[in-house]
């Protein structure tokens, strides 16, 4: 009798621990989801997103990159006929800095501060050739008449 009760208690404890672990995992997952949108869509959703961490994909507009001596960088990101200002904390990818007149397809991760996107990270798909006509970044390269 006592043994059976102990066994039940053990199962209950195991179930509670598992449930707690799952709840913790789901909450962590929810807190660390980064939505990735092209510039045009991200601008439309700016109000609803607030200061949540998101990713925005687009093309660095040629000639807009500035790398001040104090560090960081600023540039304009375009897609779908929409252009936004990005302030990047940290170093831009060498593909962007070494090809300021080209159109580097990048994804920046950060949050909105007013109409400027404060990015703390820049990602770039290496060797990416966005040939797909339906791809928003491919379209943006066409719009900007990029050679990339």
């Amino acid at each position: 009798m006592w043994r059976a009760r102990m066994k039940r208690v053990r199962w209950v404890i195991a179930a509670v621990v598992c449930a707690g672990a799952i709840v913790f995992m789901v909450s962590q997952l929810g807190a660390n989801l980064n939505y990735m949108e092209p510039v045009s869509k991200a601008v439309k959703q700016r109000e609803s997103v607030g200061d949540k961490q998101i990713r925005i994909g687009g093309i660095v507009v040629p000639g807009t990159l500035a790398t001040p001596a104090r560090g960081g960088a600023s540039f304009e990101l375009a897609e779908g006929g929409v252009v936004i200002a990005v302030a990047l904390e940290g170093t831009p990818h060498e593909t962007v800095t070494n090809n300021p007149d080209g159109c580097a397809p990048v994804v920046v991760e950060g949050h909105w501060t007013g109409t400027t996107f404060a990015a703390d990270r820049m990602l770039l798909k290496h060797g990416a050739e966005y040939d797909d006509d339906d791809h928003p970044i491919g379209d943006a390269q066409d719009d900007l008449d990029c050679n990339a």
Binding site: Q28, Y35, G71, H93, H126
Partner: protein
């Protein structure tokens, strides 16, 4: 000629796989030994076909046969010989070709190993399953992933596009992918024996003993492949780290986690006859995760530095994964009652209980990584909205599990089977525990902070002290019993029980890795600076001065290297030259960091931009502690795995 040879070889391998599988399975069902023997002979033909396919591709690559589309897409006239050879696994179709060869080699080795049991139904079924897996991959190559497809051009191009810039920038490209493939593919052998055991009803401990070495070999390759991948990331990608929780990195980690769990839980089944269903499930999960990893890498469903271009093989791989899971889980369900074992864990403080806890943690680790990896795919499929899971999720979830595993790794090897007493525990754990606590105290006094870091240092020392104690006691016993010297006693101790001591050596490697990961994740420092010629920046105890840049150009690439003088405490440590290279046909520039490696820390220098209009370079300086111990830890794990594979030396008692 090369195309014809390649296609013929692949057709031969596919046909032999089909025929061999049919003969072996048919022979096993009808108990016909002649069919089984014929089926086994087909393995040699599969091997010849796979070698022929790879040879034809290497021939085409090295003679720049641009009539083959794969060659045109992946090499150029200026590509150095090494990267021309490695282009075989630089893109989708070629990598499947290498997969086919590695699989054929594993099947050949397994067939040779069981050459005296060729008519044993479990061996026949296992070889049949192996050939069915081979048939799938050769069919892929004859269908949607044809490596010998012709170039879509009436005129033969005079030059190719060349490999992806990242794949021709470091010699590790020659080692990292083949090691990973060998690890992935090797798990086909234990999977096939697990299926054979389920089909034949012989799911005792026999199939475990039969596949122990194959499992260890595959695990060893995968371990080395993952560590080399981290090294490649560190030395090539230039971001200063070695693991980014990239979906494709995760895909290689997943089967490693389940396989590691299996390597431990198999001992419980061998010793106590328990966990049969669990072990079968782990083997099946490991194989299924290798297929899932292949799907993630090659279907184009995820964006990653590792991902190949989008292709049609995703649906094939998903279908194959579904067949594997349905067949395997169906067999387990069918055999459900017979798989039950009467054994139970007698005490929560026993080795089998510790192994069970270790397995639950490994399974939890795998689940966390799996969910974090595939969740974005599910969200995108359901909501049509691209999403990614941030690194903090993986760090927050896996750190406590990793700490728990380090603790169990220190405790489990010293626990006896079945039950223990407090006196035994005190005797075996007191000294290592004191060493662990003392290490934590010392590291805190030296300035260590962060609960996870301090816990990792303490548990690492705890584990290492336990391993050293174990060796020391064994050596002392041998010296007393046989009058041997230290070297001979150590060697004979290990040769007498290579599985135990090899395992302990692997654990020592894991400790080194765990401590290095904790230190580098917690205490790395990074500084970014724009420097003109003659200007310096100071990071920690290092002063880095920009001396100037130099250009180098070859047919393969154009490189701009910045010359940086490094000093510490007034001592000149030399000139380092991080660089940025551009490759013809690729818009992306590739940075190559320059690393000053040390026992205590690395100085990691990478360029973010070459001289701009103001004559300044963009420089990122990182000081990464204990990184070297990551690679040493990987080497120690490999050494331990090799020791585990040694045959047990039996001593003759005079």
């Amino acid at each position: 000629m090369r195309q014809a040879l390649g296609t013929f070889s692949l057709t031969l391998a596919a046909t032999a796989s089909l025929l061999g599988a049919a003969l072996l399975v048919g022979g096993a069902v009808r108990a016909d030994h002649r069919w089984m023997r014929l089926g086994r002979r087909c393995v040699a033909v599969v091997l010849v076909g796979a070698i022929g396919g790879v040879a034809a591709m290497e021939w085409a690559l090295n003679t720049h046969d641009y009539t083959v589309r794969y060659v045109f897409d992946n090499v150029a006239n200026a590509t150095p010989r090494l990267y021309t050879v490695t282009a075989l696994w630089g893109a989708l179709e070629g990598s499947i070709l290498l997969w086919g060869l590695v699989l054929a080699l594993f099947i050949g080795a397994s067939t040779w190993r069981f050459r005296h049991r060729g008519t044993d139904p479990i061996v026949a079924w296992a070889t049949g399953v192996q050939l069915l897996v081979a048939l799938f991959f050769f069919a892929l190559m004859l269908g949607p992933a044809d490596p010998f497809a012709a170039t879509n051009s009436l005129v033969t191009p005079f030059d190719g596009r060349g490999p992806n810039a990242l794949l021709q920038n470091h010699p590790l490209m020659a080692f990292h992918p083949p090691m990973l493939y060998a690890g992935y593919v090797g798990f086909t052998i234990p999977f096939s024996f697990a299926i054979a055991a389920l089909v034949t009803g012989r799911f005792g401990e026999g199939w475990l003993a039969d596949t122990r070495r194959a499992t260890l070999v595959a695990w060893g390759f995968l371990t080395v492949g993952i560590v080399l991948g981290g090294w490649w990331s560190y030395e090539v990608l230039g971001w200063g780290g070695y693991w980014a929780w990239d979906p494709v990195e995760n895909a290689s980690l997943l089967p490693w986690l389940t396989a590691t769990a299996f390597i431990h839980s198999v001992m419980v089944q061998e010793r106590r006859g328990m966990l049969r269903v669990w072990n079968l499930s782990l083997v099946i999960a490991t194989f299924a995760l290798t297929i899932l990893g292949t799907f993630l890498t090659r279907s184009g469903v995820i964006e990653s530095v590792h991902a190949f271009s989008e292709s049609d093989i995703g649906v094939w791989l998903l279908a194959f994964l579904a067949i594997v899971l349905i067949a395997a889980l169906g067999l387990i369900a069918l055999r459900g009652d017979a798989l039950r074992t009467p054994g139970r864990i007698d005490s929560p403080v026993s080795r089998e209980a510790a192994f069970l806890a270790n397995n639950l943690l490994f399974a939890g680790f795998a689940l966390v990584v799996l969910i974090g990896t595939v969740y974005p795919l599910l969200v995108e499929a359901l909501r049509d909205r691209p999403v990614s899971v941030g690194e903090p999720y993986f760090r927050t979830m896996t750190t406590p599990i990793g700490i728990g595993l380090l603790f169990l790794m220190a405790v489990a090897p010293v626990l006896p089977w079945r039950a223990t007493s407090s006196a035994v525990l005190r005797d075996r754990l007191l000294v290592p525990a004191v060493v662990g606590v003392a290490t934590m105290a010392v590291t805190v006094l030296l300035g260590a902070h962060g609960v996870a870091q301090v816990a990792a240092f303490g548990l690492g020392a705890f584990g290492l002290a336990g391993i050293i104690r174990n060796f020391a006691l064994g050596v002392r016993a041998r010296k007393r019993a046989h009058g041997e010297g230290l070297a001979r006693a150590s060697t004979r101790l290990v040769r007498g029980n290579p599985r135990l001591y090899g395992g302990l050596i692997v654990h020592a490697g894991v400790v080194l890795l765990g401590v290095a990961i904790a230190a580098s994740a917690g205490y790395s420092r990074q500084h970014e600076a724009q420097l003109a010629r003659g200007e310096s920046t100071v990071v920690g105890s290092y002063r880095v001065t920009y001396l100037g840049s130099e250009d180098r150009s070859t047919a393969q690439k154009s490189t701009v290297a910045a010359r940086l003088k490094v000093e510490r405490g007034g001592d000149d440590l030399g000139v380092y030259a991080p660089s940025i290279s551009t490759f013809p046909n690729f818009t992306s520039a590739v940075g190559t960091p320059s690393v000053r490696t040390g026992w205590r820390e690395d100085l990691y220098l990478s360029l973010s931009n070459t001289e701009n209009d103001q004559g300044q370079i963009g420089l990122t300086v990182r000081v990464n502690p204990l990184i070297l111990w990551l690679w040493i830890g990987g080497g120690v794990m490999l050494a331990g795995t090799l020791v585990c594979l040694l045959p047990k030396r039996r001593e003759v008692i005079a």
